[in-house]
Each structure stands twice: as structure tokens, then as C-alpha cells.
Amino acid sequence: MSTTQAKGFLSPSTEKAEESFLWYLKEWFCTTDAKRIGIMYMAFGVLMGIIGGALSMLIRIELMQAGPDIMSDTFYATLPGMHATLMIFFFIIPIFTGVANFVVPLQIGAPDMAFPKLNLAGFWILPPAGFMVLSAYLVPGGAPGFGWTGYPPLSVQASMGADLWIAGIILVGTSSTMAAVNFLSTVFNMRCKNMTLFQMSLFTWSLVVTSFLILASTPVLTSALMMLELQRTFPAAFHFFDPAGGGDPILYQHLFWFYSHPAVYIMILPGFGLISEVIPTFSRKPIFGYPVMAWSMIAIAVLGFVVWAHHMFTTGIAVEVRMAFMVLTMLIAVPTGIKIFSWLATMWGGSLEFKTPMLFALGFIAMFTIGGLSGVVLASVPVDIQLHDTYYVVAHIHYVLVAGSVMTIWSGIYYWYPKMTGTMYNEFWGKVHFWLTTIFINVTFFIQHYLGLQGMPRRYYDYAPQFEWANTISSVGSFILFAAQFIALVNLIVSIKTGDEVDKNVWGDGTQLEWAAKSPPAHHNFEGDMPVWEPVDRSHGHDDEQAQPSPAE
């Protein structure tokens, strides 16, 4: 590798840090540079993803054969909830925050986030929160066994591990609202010259929409958890969720799902935005229907606030209410369909280039559609009453979050990896990673639709013997799926040292501002003069030539 200068923000910026690794580490931990904070978010997210993945491996090992195998049922009961908590709150959401920390300031031509110190503080809330949640395993009574939803009365009766879990979740929520405040201030106030709101990249748009979702929904979860914690701590005084004391356990579910339904959009909208960057670049065409793409994200977000009770169809709420929520839920398929078809239309007639990020984007479109369709199936009240709490729901959520969010995360990481490190990843191993992931996502999760339709309940320690063959297939698939992710990790880590050095516009067809910065970018992104946004007018067939359509044409 050449001089440290070429490594941009990655290289030590003080003399002391150049000499001592500890100082270099300290420079990272105390940095206010959004790019470094972004990388730390990603590293932490990957670490928690590995732990969360390992927990799911324990689940799949236990379920590989019928009957008790390697663990006790009480220990098993803690696994689904812990797995979900780690994956949702500590893996997917922080990784998107990390990617966005790196990319959003670049894409809007800003030197940094609006509140760099708040940014760093928000990140450093995460590791203690993760530690708190995991340390529930170490206290008497062990980790809570009530799943990731924490419904009372189970969560009121649970041992003190539940207190750690609740505190951890409240901290994560605080961290992500801090990030949301920061993103909104950054995007609304720090765009470079000429970049109006409807000139922004769709990834930046997705972060704006996601941040509003976080601001409006996460605090409601915080209030629900605070009420739960009050009831746990002062059982004589507080009876919010306890019918014997005049409370209402369904109230908790309302508040919980008021957050947790929008939360699935918090986990997928940044992915939508990301795919809207990758597909135009590798199709060499501008995105189809840009304004509609932005508005459909807003529509999804707004609708996302009025559908929460579709998780509660079996709680006995009034049938009229259920019908209303069913219709509203199905309506969400409309803006989502608009997005899917716009991506297809973007590729239509383009000259496609099947690099790893593009492969992940295509795999995402295909499999997310399956997850979307099974969502519409579940939205229908009579079907949901049958399928509620079965493996069909597990299959659905994993098609949305693994084939959805995780595939887009990989797409984005491969896409911006050369920008982040200044070196190219290994394309061959990237493709191997893609194919193994895609194939084994389907091996693992597709058959769970069948299991659910046959009536296998989720979160159970054991199952009827006729489900064994399908569970074995699912388990084997999940082992390979988990192992395949390490290919990517090794590839991405080794390539920092061995990969070819890359130019500014690595893919040749990037049109957003991040491709105008050095790879990797310098400390304040753009050196010297601040960038001025000029939209790149690119139509197919003119390749790198800039087409200049005049009004007369």
C-alpha cells in the first residue's frame, strides 16, 4: 500500500496515532467523523449479528430432530427472543445507521453530520445496551423467556433478567432516536448548493422517511416498556397491564405494536433506498419514476402507522376493527408494488452488469416479493387466525428481514466497500457468497411456510414427529447459510490489504455525489471547495457521453 495519505479517513490523523496502535484506536473511539462512526456501527452490528446468528444456530440444532436434544426447555425458551432482539435492535438497525452515517453526508455534499458529538454519543450507548441485554443470561433466573415481544403477564412475572432486557431496549431506542434527530437535521439543513429535496438520492430519502418513523414510533415503545418496568418494580402501586388490578394486558400489545410494525419499515426502507442506488448504477439507466419512488416511501411510512393491530387479530378485538386493519394492511402492498415495478422498469432495456451488489439487489427483489406476498396472506383475518404464531409467520418475517434487509445490507456493503476502504473486494468470492446465501435462504425458510400451514407453532421446544424431515432440511440449510456469511467477512477484511486500489467512481456509472469524493474520502469528505450539485443526465445508449436533450426534441 502506498502512503497513508491515500487511505483518507482510515489513516491515523495525528503523529502519536501513527506510532502507537493504542492511540490510533483511541482516535477511532473518540472520533466525531461520521465515516468512522459509521464503520464502528457496522463493526458492532456485525459482531452482534454473529452472536444473534449463533443463537439461531442453537435453535436449529435443537429443532433438527424431534424430542429434547442438547438443551433444557427453559434455556430454549430464551433463545427466540434473544435472537430476535439481537438481530433487530443490535444488527439490522445499527448497520443501516452505520452505512447511512458514511453515505448520507457524502450524498448531500456535507462535510459531516449536523451534530458530530451527538453522533458519537449515540453510538456509544449501543455497546452497553447490548451488554445489558446479553448479561441477562448471567443473573439468577437467566434470560427472559417471553420472546422479543415481552407480553404481560409473562413479562411481569419473569425474573430479573427481564429488567436488564427492558433497560437495554430502552437504551437502544434512545440511541436510534438520537441518530434520527441527527439525520433529519443533517439532511434538511446541510445539503450542498443546488440540491433541493427532490434532487436528493433515494437512499438519503429513505433515511429521512426512516428517521421520521423512528421519531414517532420508538418513544411509544419506550413508554410501554417504562410502564412495564414500573409494574415489575412496584407491584403494589402499578397495575397497568394487570386485569386483577384494573389494568389491561392488551394495552401493552397496542403500544408495543404501534412501535413494532413501523419498526419493520425502519428495517426495510433504508434497504429500499439502497437498492434504488444499486440498480440504476448497474443498469446504466436513471431510476424509473424518481418522484413516485420517494412518495411511495412516504406512503408506506404513513400507512405503517395505522396497521399495527394486524398483529393482534387473535386477541379478541372487535371484528369491525379487525376488518379495518386488514384493509389498511393490504393497502401497503400498493406502494410496495410500485417500488418493485419501478426497479424492474429501471432495469428494462438497461445494459446490466452482474457485479455482486447487483446480484444481491436482484436476489432481494425476487425473494422480498415472496415475503411481501406471504404478508398479504397473513393480513387477511380468517387466514391469520389459522396461521397466527405458527412457522408460517416465522417464514414470512425471515423472507422480509433476511431475504429483505440482510440482502440489501450486503448489497450496500459490497457497493460502497471500495468507497469506504479504497480497495476492491474479491469479485469471485463475492459471487460465491451471493449464491450460497440466496440458495440457502430458500432452503432454510421456504419449507417453514409448509410447516406453518401444517400447524407447527413457533417458539416451541419440540414438535410432532411428522414435522421432523422438514425441520431437518431447514436446519441444514441454516447451518450453511450462517457459515456462508463468514466468506464475506473474510473477503471484506482480507481485501483491505490485498484488494486493487480503486478510483473515485469505481463502478463507472455512479451518479451521486459520493462518487465525486476520493476513495476513501478525506476527513471532511470533500477537500477544498464544497461541491455543487448538478444532476447527471444519463440516458441509455450514450454510455458515458452526457446526453443533452433540448426542449425541442
Binding site: A114, Q157, M190, L215, A237, F240
Partner: protein, 223 residues
């Protein structure tokens, strides 16, 4: 490095102001969660919710109304502090800020007095039940205590009361500290007419806390 300037296409306000506004959206939603819980528990069939005016007594309502008036006054003095700071009358700004802080402290003091009275005299089961020793029997013990000493309204009437006024009180306490930092800034000369916006941002928070109190007061005490 600490302060990043707004870009050329900004909304025309500082980053700090947008940051505070977005934070307040989030804070408002936290209160919305609590208030939604309150509404659900109160307005469900057969909740047996007592009439708050009868429970607190006319005198109790009047004391709290006076307290509300003090909080509103402290919002007014906050406006004065900002106006004086913008005109570079830092001496006067400091005095008004001090008035604001004292207003917040009086509010907290009266609320503390009210809590003490309610816990000791009105709802004695709160002190009587040893829930640490036997959490699962806490509800029964509370009911027994109520049978002996009276004070029954509705368990969640007291619970939501403490939840809402307590969470709001915590906001007032944070606001008093925030305002005190502003006061120190004015005294040390770190806040002058040029960066009086810092006081404006603190004011946004303070007025928000005031506004939330009007809601809490209406829901919990008046209707």
C-alpha cells in the same frame, strides 16, 4: 469541528433549532404513549374511574391550578430572558433566567408536597405494602391495606397519576438544570447577543414542558 454550519440549501434556521424540534417530536410521542395508556385504562367499560375533582378535593385542584399558573409565568419570564439577551442586555437576561429557574423549582416543590400528601394521607397502601419481600402477593396486600385504612379510588388512578406527573416532573427537573446551564453561560459571558439562539432553543424545550403540563393537568385533574 464541534459545530457544523448549515449548508447553502438550509431551511434558514440553525442545526440546533431543527435538532430541538425533532427531539420534541420524539418527546411528545413518549407522552402520547403514556396518555394513550391513560385514556385506555380510564375510558374502558367498568373502569370505575373516580371523579378527579372529588378525589383531589377543591383545595387540591386549586393548589395545582396555582402551580400551573407559576409554570406558565416561568414560560413568560423565559421569553423575557430571550428578548433581553437578543438586545444584549445580559444583566437583565440573567435576572429573567433566574426567575425562570425559581419558577421551575417552586413548581417542583409544590408537586413534591402534593405527592407526599397523597402517598401518606390519601393512598396509605403505597407505604404499607412490603412488595420487595413478596412481589406476587403485592396486589392482595394492597387490597387488604385499602380495606383497613380506606383510600380506595382505583389502583390505576393513582398509578397513572404518578406515571404522568412523575414523567413530566422529571422533564421540569431536566429543564431547570438546562436553564441553569444557560444562566451560567450568561454569567460567564459565553452567551451573548450573538448566540442568544442557545436561549431560544432552551426556551423551546421549556415551553414544550409547559404545554405538556397543560395537557396532563387537564386530563389528570380536570376532566
Amino acid at each position: 469541528m464541534a459545530d457544523v454550519e448549515p449548508g447553502p440549501e438550509s431551511l434558514g434556521v440553525s442545526n440546533g433549532k431543527i435538532g430541538m424540534w425533532t427531539f420534541l417530536v420524539m418527546d411528545a410521542m413518549t407522552f402520547a404513549g403514556f396518555l394513550a395508556g391513560y385514556a385506555r385504562l380510564r375510558w374502558s367499560p367498568e373502569s370505575g374511574w373516580p371523579n378527579p375533582i372529588e378525589t383531589f378535593g377543591t383545595l387540591g385542584i386549586q393548589v395545582t391550578a396555582a402551580n400551573t399558573f407559576i409554570l406558565i409565568c416561568s414560560s413568560v419570564s423565559m421569553v423575557h430572558a430571550l428578548a433581553e439577551a437578543m438586545n444584549d442586555n445580559l444583566e437583565r437576561a440573567r435576572t429573567w433566567m433566574l426567575v425562570t429557574i425559581v419558577g421551575g423549582l417552586i413548581f417542583l416543590g409544590v408537586q413534591g408536597f402534593e405527592w407526599t400528601h397523597l402517598i401518606l394521607d390519601k393512598w396509605p397502601y403505597l407505604m404499607e405494602v412490603n412488595w420487595v419481600a413478596d412481589p406476587s402477593g403485592a396486589l392482595q396486600a394492597a387490597m387488604q391495606s385499602i380495606e383497613q385504612h380506606g383510600g380506595y379510588d382505583n389502583l390505576n388512578f393513582a398509578a397513572t397519576f404518578f406515571n404522568l406527573t412523575g414523567f413530566h416532573g422529571a422533564h421540569v427537573a431536566v429543564g431547570v438544570m438546562y436553564n441553569f446551564v444557560m444562566y451560567l453561560g450568561l454569567r460567564n459571558g459565553k452567551i451573548t447577543g450573538e448566540n442568544a439562539e442557545l436561549i431560544e432553543i432552551a426556551g423551546l424545550y421549556w415551553h414544550f414542558v409547559d404545554l405538556i403540563w397543560i395537557l396532563v393537568f387537564t386530563f389528570v385533574y380536570l376532566i
